[in-house]
Amino acid sequence: MKLSVWTYEGPPHVGALRVATAMKGLHYVLHAPQGDTYADLLFTMIERRNHRPPVTYTTFQARDLGSDTANLFKTACQNAYERFQPQAMIVGASCTAELIQDDPGGMAETMGLPIPVIPLDLPSYQRKENFGADETFFQITRALARPMDKTPQITCNLIGPTALGFRHRDDITEITALLSDLGISVNVCAPYGATPQDLTRLGAAHFNVLMYPETGEAACRWMERELNLPFTKTVPIGVGATHDFVKEVATLTGVEPTLDTARLRLPWYSASVDSTYLTGKRVFLFGDGTHVATAARIARDEMGFEVAGLGCYNREMARPIRALAREYGVEALITDDYLDVEQRIETLAPELILGTQMERHIGKRLGIPCAVISAPVHVQDFPARYSPQMGIEGANVIFDTWVHPLVMGLEEHLLHMFREDFEFHDDAGASHHGHKAKPRPDPEARQPVTADEHPGTVVWLDDAERELKKVPFFVRGKARRNTESFAAEKGLSQIGIDTLYEAKAHYAR
C-alpha cells in the first residue's frame, strides 16, 4: 500500500480509453463498477470533446457480484455492438473487474460477433495509463495490420498521438506539413483519427514516424518486425531535433533533406540581445520521458539555460532519462510521487521549472516561474489556438511559452524596485505565472469611514460586515459595491444584514 494524493498517471484502462477515444469506428466495452464513468469527463471537459467517448461500462453493483457479472458483460457487449455498429471492439476489465476474474476476452469470443473483438489484458495493480495506451494500440495493430504492397509514392504512418495527449492535435498538423515539404504523404495517422479499417492499411506505408514513444513504441517495434516498416527514433521537438529528424527521414527514404525555415524564429529570438539575460538561468525539467529529453536539449543548446536537474514519472523511460542525466552532469529523478519532486525542486532552487500541471502548482507554492511541457495537463493546455510542440512552429511556441514567465519575472522585479511609487505598493498582485502570489489588498482592511466625515456615505454595521466576509473573496468587492449603491439609492445611512440581502435580491438575475 502506498499513500498518494496526486497521481501523474491514471490506471491502464484510462490509457485504453485514450486510444479508443482517439479512434473512430472502434468501441470499448469495459467491465467496470458504477462510478468508473468519471473518466468520460476527462475527454468531454479537459479536451472539450463534443461527443461521448466510445465506451460502454458494464456498471456492475454489489448485488451482482455473486452471480451475474458475466451475463451483464455479455449483454453490454451485445447492446454496444447493435447500437454503435463498430468496425471492431476492444474489451477489457478495470481494476475492480480484474479482481472478480470474469475474463472479458474469453466471454466476448464465445459471442461470435461478426467483427474483430480484441481482448486487452491490462494489469491495473502494476502498470499505469501510458502502458495501457501503448499496449492497447499494440494489440489493435497486431490484430488488424497485415503485410501488403507498398504505396507507389513514399508514404509513412504517424504513430502514437492519442486523445488527452499534450498538443497531439497540432503536432500532427505540423509534422504532416513538414513531411509534405519532403514529398512524403501520410498513409495512416493512428490512433488519432484512424478507424479500424485504416489500421488494416498500415502495412502500405514505407516507414513509421514514432511521434510519442510512450504510446506508440510497442506497435512500431511489432510493425518493424512483422511488416518490415522501419521507424524514426528522433522526436522532432526543438530546432536541432527537427533538423535531425529530417535527416533521419532522408536517410530512411533517400529523399533530399529539405526543411523550410522561413517561419522559424526561435534561433534569432534566442540570439537577440533581449535574450541575453536568459544565459545560465538554472532550469529544472520534469514530465514524461519524451518531453523531458527533448526539452533538455532545447534548454541547453537553443535557449542557453543551465539544466540544474531533470527527471520523469514514467518508469518505462527511466533508462534513457538516466543516461541523459549523466550526459548533462545531473542526477536523474525517476518517481511518481510529487512530494519527491517538490523536495528536489526545493533543494535545487532553480530559476525556472519546466514540468507538468503539478510542477506548475509546486512552482506557485515556492514562488518559482514555471511553464508546462508535458502531460498531465489541465484544460488550459488544450488551447483553441494552434500551438504545436513539434517542428518549426513548435519551436516558436516553445520559445514564447518558456520565456513568458521569465519576462513576467523581470516585470515583477521592476515593480519591486519602484514599489514606493504611488502606482505600486507592496501588496500589488503577482503575475499569474510565477512568483509567490500575494493576496490582493483586502478592501475590508481600509479605514472605516463615518458618516460625519463623509456626508452621504453609508456605514456598515458590524454584523453585516461579518456576513460580507462569508461571501467568496472574488465576488466580495462586487457585493460590497452593489450593496452600497443599493443603500444609497434607498437613502439608507447604515447597512445591516437585511440590507445586504435586500441588495442581493435586488441585483439577482
Partner: protein, 427 residues
C-alpha cells in the same frame, strides 16, 4: 400569511409508477463526497483504501483543490496487498501511523472503502477498531464505504454520516438536529432563522469539529437538509431520534415548508413565524421572479446524479414555472422525498436508476429546453443542440434556504441566457 406558491396539486407524484431501468450508469461513486465533506469537517482526514483508479477519480473531481494540502488521500493497493490479506491490515496500519505522525492536527480519520477493497473483503471496520484503540483518545478512526458498487455520488455523504451516528454520545436533551453538510453561510442562516423563532438547542451533523459536543437520544428530533440521507435517517431512528418529514429547503416555498415543519414541532406560533420569515420570504420571491422570466414555460429533463433532482424539479416547476419532462434520480427514498413528490404535479416520468443509452434516446426525443446532467454528458448534448446545466455545481454551490433561492434559479436560467446571447450561427 399570504400564499404565493401555487396550491398543491390534487394528486402529486408520490404514487406515480417509477420507471426502473438498469444498464450503464453515468454517475460518480460515493468517494466523490469526500471532496465537500473534508471542507466541512475541519479536523477530519479521509483515507480511501483503493486502487489508482480511486486516486485518479478524486484528483479529477477535486480539480485544482488537490494542492491546498487537502485532508484526503488514497492508500493505493499494490500487487503484494492482493496476494495475502493479513499483510494488507499491517500495511494499512503502517500507512495510518505515518499519516497521523505527519498530520498532528487530525482528530477523526475515516477509512473509506472502495470497490477493490470491498471485493477483496478487506475488513476496514476491524482495522478502524484496532486503529482507534491504538490512537485513542486523540484520534477516532471510523469507516464507511464509498464504493461504486454500493454508493452513488452523494450517498457517500450518507454513508459517512451514518457511520458517525452509532459512535455519538447519548443524551436525553430535547434538541433539534440538522442533518446534512451545508456551506457555512447557509448553515448560519438556517440557525439564525430558527434561533429567532426561539428554537435554541440545535446541533448540526456533521459538526465542524470533532469536539463539538454532538449527542443524540430519544428526545432528539431531526430534520434533513439534504435528500440523500436515507441511511443516516435509519441510523438516527435506531438511536431513538425522530424524523421531521418536510419538503427540502429549496426556493421560497420549500424553505418555508421546511421551517414550518420544524416550527410546528417546537410550538412556534404563527405570528412569530410570519414575523421571522416575512422579509426573507419576500426577498426570495423577488429574486426568484427575475430568473423565472427566463425559465417560465420551458421544459426540463433531469438525468440521475445526486438525489436532489426531485426537490429541484418541485422548485423549478412550482416557483419558476418550468415543465418537467423526466425526473431521474439514482435512488428514490419515498420516506425522505415523499413531501416533495406530493407537491410535484403529475406529468413527468419519474425514473430511478439508469440505462444511459435509453435515457439519452428519451431525452433526444423530448428535446427539452434544459437538460440537467453530469459533465460526461453535458458537452456532447450541447453539441447536439441541447442546452444543459451540469448537475455537480448544485452540490458545491450554496443553494439552500431563502437568501440563495435567487442564486439557485439563476443557475438554471444562466445557460438559457447564454444560448440567447451567443450569436455563433455566422461563425
Amino acid at each position: 400569511m399570504t400564499h404565493h406558491a401555487p396550491p398543491p396539486p390534487a394528486t402529486g407524484c408520490r404514487e406515480t409508477p417509477v420507471l426502473k431501468q438498469r444498464g450503464q450508469h453515468e454517475v460518480f461513486c460515493g468517494l466523490t463526497g469526500i471532496i465537500w465533506l473534508h471542507r466541512k469537517m475541519q479536523d477530519a482526514f479521509f483515507l480511501v483504501v483503493g486502487s489508482r483508479t480511486c486516486a485518479h477519480l478524486l484528483q479529477s473531481a477535486a480539480g485544482v483543490m488537490i494542492f491546498a494540502e487537502p485532508r484526503f488521500g488514497t492508500a493505493i493497493l499494490e500487487e503484494t496487498d492482493l496476494a495475502g490479506l493479513a499483510d494488507a491490515q499491517a500495511e494499512l496500519e503502517r500507512e495510518v501511523d505515518r499519516l497521523l505522525a505527519r498530520r498532528t492536527d487530525i482528530r477523526q480519520l475515516f477509512l473509506v472503502g472502495s470497490c477493490p477493497s470491498e471485493v477483496i473483503k478487506l475488513d476496514l471496520s476491524r482495522a478502524a477498531e484496532k486503529l482507534t484503540a491504538r490512537h485513542a483518545p486523540k484520534v477516532r478512526v471510523l469507516n464507511y464505504s464509498g464504493s461504486g458498487i454500493e454508493t452513488t455520488f452523494t450517498e457517500g455523504e450518507d454513508a459517512c454520516l451514518a457511520s458517525m451516528v452509532p459512535a455519538l454520545p447519548e443524551t436525553d436533551k430535547r434538541q433539534l438536529l440538522l442533518v446534512g453538510a451545508l456551506p457555512d453561510v447557509v448553515e448560519d442562516q438556517a440557525l439564525d432563522l430558527l434561533g429567532k423563532m426561539g428554537i435554541d438547542d440545535i446541533s448540526v451533523l456533521p459538526a465542524r469539529h470533532a469536539d463539538s459536543g454532538l449527542a443524540v437520544g430519544p428526545n432528539t428530533v431531526f430534520a434533513l437538509t439534504q435528500p440523500f440521507l436515507g441511511g443516516t435517517l435509519a441510523a438516527l431512528e435506531r438511536r431513538g431520534a425522530r424524523h421531521l418529514p418536510a419538503p427540502f429547503p429549496f426556493g421560497e416555498e420549500g424553505t418555508t415548508a421546511w421551517l414550518q415543519a420544524v416550527a410546528r414541532e417546537f410550538g412556534v406560533d404563527e405570528a412569530r413565524f410570519d414575523a421571522v420569515t416575512g422579509a426573507p420570504r419576500a426577498r426570495a420571491r423577488k429574486a426568484v421572479a427575475k430568473a423565472a422570466t427566463t425559465l417560465s414555460g420551458k421544459s426540463v429533463f433531469f438525468f440521475p446524479d445526486s438525489q436532489l433532482e426531485i426537490p429541484l424539479a418541485r422548485f423549478l416547476t412550482r416557483e419558476c414555472g418550468m415543465e418537467a419532462v423526466e425526473v431521474g434520480a439514482p435512488y428514490i427514498h419515498k420516506s425522505v422525498v415523499g413531501p416533495d413528490l406530493d407537491l410535484l404535479s403529475q406529468g413527468p416520468t419519474i425514473a430511478e436508476g439508469q440505462d444511459v443509452e435509453l435515457q439519452l434516446d428519451r431525452c433526444r426525443t423530448a428535446r427539452p429546453d434544459l437538460t440537467v446532467c453530469g459533465l460526461g454528458l453535458a458537452n456532447p448534448l450541447e453539441a447536439e443542440g441541447l442546452a444543459t446545466k451540469w448537475a455537480i455545481e448544485l452540490v458545491f454551490t450554496p443553494v439552500h434556504f431563502y437568501e440563495q433561492a435567487g442564486d439557485l434559479a439563476a443557475l438554471f436560467s444562466r445557460p438559457l441566457h447564454r444560448r440567447n446571447a451567443l450569436k455563433l450561427e455566422a461563425a
